[in-house]
Amino acid sequence: MRINKELVEYVAELSRIKLDESTTEKMIKELGAVIEYMGILNRLDTEGVEPMSHVFPITNVMREDIVIPSYDREEILGNAPARTDETLIVPITIE
């Protein structure tokens, strides 16, 4: 697997991360080395092995719909980088 500039830029776009030129260069090099190293998994025959997400069998948990108080709005908005008295402020999402 060859990691080139196009691939790094594509993955960065999917990740919503902007890379400057020197970081892009660094990522090509370092991601290339890591991904090449990960290739050693191909030495292992996994034909027919069921992929395992969790070591314990985990199923969805249902509960009764109980009405409990939510967080205070002021407490939640207190951490927002931009806000009005009642809401978060974001750029226009729909033209």
Partner: protein
């Protein structure tokens, strides 16, 4: 006169209960120690001095009145900065979270507070727990108290260094691929990662949800068991926390190790292992043998696949978990942006450090169309193979013993130039996360340069009692865990 800073959490709890010392006295002395040492060690990001002092007074009254009876009531604990503490800044050692102050407590914090434990402050770590040397922190590296030109290990580097430097009595860390055990090993303290699902992850800022687990870092195994007693148990806010009855871990420590069957994986002692580390860990196994345990060589043929499997799964989950940091709801927002998507891009580019960016890119890559089967699906298949192999070993053996890390603490700066080498320092610890097993690191001696070596004890899922008992028995035979870093810090 008590040597308060060298006492264990249980000793302090007992002395406080007997009225020989008070919780406010302990808290006061601890903060004086932090003030004296932390300019050099850099183990803390945020100190909670004022609130902790008030809290210690309040707790002391409740201890005196008999309302609080936990063995750790009145004892201060320090907390890794990826565990949410209500009203106390929680940064994940990242720029992107800014001055984020959680409006709620993680479940583990609620449980500690209910037991009368006092939260002393928030500990430095690798950014978002991504790193094995504590050098990726936005707040600067943590230095190893045994030799300040060395790293503390990571990602719970602040926890291990603070406990070793007597800047913390005990601490909570988190472990995704070795992040409690490896720094505990580098700093000569005891660290325990419980079975996946033993401790609620509610309020732990997620790195890799299927691998993350909160656990104690302390002076000895008994303190780890006492902390585990408080923080374990089912939590309706974390559906992966196991709904089981937990034993009293502290009360179970004294049992026999005689007749316990211990496997020593031969692959762990082959190429790449430091000679001193090999020698100390073999000597430690021999000590358990002399206490009556049966020690045999076993085979762990999948050792070379642990690190790639771990990094594929961890980064895949991280790429999803970290999508929530977008500059909208909390944390910082990028400075100049044009529209919503650019707000995300700019915030994340300015807010994340390079290691975090790299792991998000890696995770996005292994999940992306065309590569998913070759990397992510493959890793989940290897995970199944690894788990089955451990299950087969544990049909015959009670425990596995190996080094916690292939070497002692590297020099500051050394690992950043060779990231792959840093990743390989997780080779012996990541397996316990992949298979969900409990893993303990206990100090077992020093290398030729006087740096601590750690022995790792791994057990079958939910066999914490055996793991802790073997570690406790070892600490009854040795005094490495009681040795404090000597000399002046420079």
């Amino acid at each position: 006169m008590y040597d308060i800073l060298n006492m264990t959490a249980l000793q302090l709890g007992s002395a406080i209960k007997k009225g020989e010392i008070s919780s406010p006295e302990v808290v006061g002395m601890l903060f004086d120690a932090i003030e004296a040492k932390d300019k050099i060690i850099n183990a803390y990001i945020t100190l909670n001095r004022e609130a902790a002092t008030a809290r210690a007074q309040e707790v002391q009254k409740k201890i005196n009145s008999g309302e609080l009876t936990s063995p750790l009531a009145g004892v201060p604990v320090a907390v890794k900065d990826n565990i949410c503490t209500k009203g106390l800044k929680t940064s994940c050692a990242s720029k992107i979270l800014g001055d984020f102050t959680p409006p709620y407590n993680a479940t583990v914090i609620e449980r500690l507070e209910a037991a009368g434990v006092v939260i002393a402050g928030k500990l430095n770590m690798d950014e978002f727990a991504m790193g094995s040397t504590n050098e990726t922190s936005y707040y600067g590296p943590v230095k190893n108290p045994w030799n300040t030109s060395r790293v503390s290990g990571g990602s719970s580097g602040g926890a291990a260094a603070a406990v070793a430097a007597r800047e913390a009595v005990c601490a909570l860390g988190s472990d995704t691929g070795g992040s409690i055990r490896q720094p505990a090993s580098y700093c000569g303290v005891t660290g325990f990662k419980p079975t996946y699902g033993t401790v609620s992850r509610y309020g732990l800022i997620a790195y890799a949800s299927s691998l993350d687990q909160i656990g104690p870092v302390a002076r000895d195994v008994a303190d780890c068991a006492a902390i585990l007693n408080i923080i374990c148990g089912h939590d309706s806010a974390d559906s992966t926390s196991l709904d089981i009855t937990h034993p009293d871990y502290l009360a179970s420590l004294g049992g026999e190790v005689k007749g316990m069957k211990i496997g020593l994986p031969r692959e762990c002692f082959e190429a790449g292992l430091d000679d001193d580390v090999a020698e100390r860990v073999k000597a430690a196994a021999e000590a358990l043998h002399s206490a009556g345990a049966v020690v045999d060589e076993v085979s762990l043929p999948f050792l070379d696949y642990m690190v790639p499997t771990y990094y594929i799964i961890a980064c895949a989950e991280a790429s999803s978990n970290l999508s929530r940091f977008d500059g909208v709801k909390y944390g910082i927002r990028g400075r100049n942006y044009d529209g919503l998507t650019d707000l995300y891009n700019t915030t994340r580019s300015e807010g994340f450090g390079d290691e975090v960016k790299k792991r998000i890119l890696l995770g996005t890559f292994v999940l992306s169309s065309g590569y998913y089967d070759a990397y992510y699906r493959k890793a989940l298949q290897v995970k199944a193979i690894i788990k089955n192999h451990f299950d087969a070993i544990f049909e015959k053996y009670d425990l596995i013993i190996c080094p916690t890390s292939p070497r002692t603490a590297p020099r500051l700066g050394e690992s950043l130039s060779d990231p792959l080498k840093m990743y390989l320092s997780d080779i012996f610890t990541a397996s316990a996360n992949i298979a969900g097993l409990p893993g303990l690191s206990v100090p077992c001696g020093f290398d030729r340069e006087g740096l601590p070596v750690g022995m790792q004890i791994i057990g079958q899922r939910l066999d914490e009692v055996k793991v802790l008992r073997a570690g406790y028995a070892y600490q009854q035979l040795t005094s490495y865990h009681k040795t404090a870093p000597g000399g002046e810090l420079k």
